[in-house]
């Protein structure tokens, strides 16, 4: 009985942590290149609505996922141009994208509210692995393909960032753009591409919610998850592999808060994950001492050749 509680909690944590992981991975890539993207929430919303509309209209899930990612990329391109080519304030730009993106997504999705998806993404049991005791029900039973894709992506992002030459360039651009520039890297292009990758991941995270997890469209479907993903990025110390347990932890927290319904009123449970994000960031900062821990040196700073940083 207790074991069953543990395995279902883990299973739900994985399902709920998936969009957080996807979005956090995207933010890790962008921030490692030195660009803060506060537009995650807006990009997730647009990905969710674009994916849903395409899936509802065509019935094709691959096409829906592609369009969701492209929606994220399109908005990310706006942010990328403003942050890397115009060298303008990336905090305001991201915020504008979240405000406008959430509004636009709700606008576009208005007539789809409450309409179920005819052919949503279905959960499945992984053959063989789902028969393993404990691990099977926890991680390989009734999960979505996107969940495994997210885990594989964490590995891929890690490999690219820390085990490849382009990844080294990307991290150098985030740590010391002047040095990267001197070494022949195209700082603006690297940053721009990193932001686009972040947008694609955000779009995918949104699509997971509207095509698999719910699967339906509802107003404010992401409900602050994009912001929690930003917190997760810090919590994971900008490391793609550490983002996995961090996302699981938050997923578990969301799930457990539902289970505590008998003890605490539902509204207080809903606010806990947001409070825990603040607490987690505080603990990280506390343990690491003053200042940000392991943040890329040039995070949030525009780069212009010939100017001091």
């Amino acid at each position: 009985m207790e074991l069953e509680l543990l395995t279902t909690t883990l299973a739900r944590a994985l399902a709920f942590g998936t969009p957080l992981l996807l979005a956090a991975l995207g933010e890790v890539v962008a921030e490692r290149a030195g660009v803060v993207n506060l537009g995650m929430e807006g990009m997730m919303m647009l990905g969710a609505v674009a994916g849903f509309i395409v899936a509802a209209a065509t019935g094709s899930l691959p096409l829906a996922l592609l369009v969701a990612m492209l929606a994220g990329v399109a908005v990310a391109a706006l942010h990328g141009v403003i942050a890397t080519f115009l060298l303008a304030n990336q905090f305001v730009s991201g915020l504008a994208i979240t405000i406008g993106g959430v509004g636009l997504a709700n606008l576009l999705g208005k007539e789809w509210v409450g309409k179920p998806l005819a052919a949503p993404m279905l959960p499945f049991d992984v053959p063989v692995l789902s028969d393993i005791p404990l691990l099977g029900p926890a991680f390989f039973t009734r999960q979505y393909a996107l969940t495994y894709a997210a885990l594989v992506l964490a590995l891929v992002v890690w490999l690219v960032l820390f085990r490849s030459r382009p990844g080294l360039t990307l991290r150098t651009v985030g740590e010391s753009p002047a040095a990267a520039d001197a070494a022949g890297a195209n700082v603006r292009r690297v940053r721009f591409l990193a932001v686009l990758v972040g947008g694609a991941m955000a779009g995918l995270a949104g699509a997971y919610l509207s095509l698999a997890y719910r699967p339906a469209w509802g107003e404010n479907i992401t409900n602050g998850m994009g912001w929690i993903a930003l917190g997760l990025t810090i919590l994971a110390l900008w490391h793609p592999l550490r983002a996995v347990p961090a996302a699981l932890l938050f997923g578990a927290f969301f799930t457990l808060s539902f289970r505590l319904q008998a003890v605490l009123p539902p509204e207080l449970l809903t606010l806990l994950p947001y409070l825990v994000t603040v607490l987690a960031l505080t603990l990280i900062a506390w343990r690491g001492g003053r200042g940000a821990v392991g943040a890329p040196e040039a995070l949030g700073l525009p780069y212009r050749r010939g100017e001091r940083e």
């Binding site: 304030n89 930003l230 509204e267 603040v278 003053r290």
Partner: protein, 375 residues
Amino acid sequence: MMRLRWVRRDAEPPFLTFGVSAASFLLAVGAALVAFAAYGLDPWVAGATVVKRTLLDGRGLGEVVRRSIPLLLTGAGLVVALRARFWNIGAEGQILAGAVAASAVALFAPGLGALTVPALFAAAFVGAALYGLVPALLKARLGVNEIITTLMFNYVALYAVRWLINGPWRGKSVTGFSYSDRFPRETYLSVLDGTRVHVPTLVIGIVLALGLTWLLRYTRLGFSIRLLGEAPDAARYAGVKLLPTTLALAALSAGAAGMAGAGEVAGIHHRLIEPTSISMGFGYTAILVALLARGNAWATLITAPLLGWVLAAGDVVKVSLQLPFQLTDVMTGLTLLLLVASEPLLTYRPVLVRRSAPPDTNQASRPAPRASGSE
């Protein structure tokens, strides 16, 4: 062959600053007209309806002012925070914190007589300031990113208010709905006849905008705040104390938002109600109010009514034109985006240079010492 180069300006030309803000806003208005057309309406007729129902009609004008009030208080406070580059995105939650504190006084502290209304606003200021101090403390002491913490606190406040109106503060005389009991009469703020313009809050807002302008310009705290934002390193050498300055500016900014929340519950709703109906995104729109004011608290006297008009127009769009009100969010986001995208024009001057010269020897842009990023 000519080539475009961007040369750093010595100072922002004031006319251009104004022009860029105005152009961003007008472009967003243009986008709204395009949106009307996309929904199959004649954009000019629809636009005229919006203008008529918001500006040329007493009730409509009242709605514009009513929405400008919380934007004015919150926006003026945010100017102070942004001046120090303290990114307070938590005004939405701070408005709610103020509304809760004011409701506590209204519901549970009867018999204050003539002091009732001042007590409401004082409680709201203190309650919201305390709420705003937490992220400031975390930022100043531990370096925790204030953007994320203030934003998370918006959600915390939202669900906390929902809990209050569904649980402990749920009205005894209320059935079927979630809100508190009605406030006693003496807490009602006086309004202009036939409108929902609550005068005391409006007066506080105007005084606040002017008072904060004075504070930023002429006081030691104002100097510290400006220096902290413009040159944090220099601020340290000049003896500016990070912790008390950050706490003071956060308290001012959050407290101002809190009084806006008090105005909404005591001036309009007369109860603590559903949080999204108390604030309706004022805290986020106020960021645009503050950014458009470009660091001048007095300028919120212009930018708050401007955005108040946008919000009131959103109502007309919904009620009279039967279009989704989310159009206003898209417009707000678009204005912000245009505003930030045009920023380089203020810091850099475009000049045409001959291409034949090798780009690096003909260094038109001289390296200028920069405060902290070219934001």
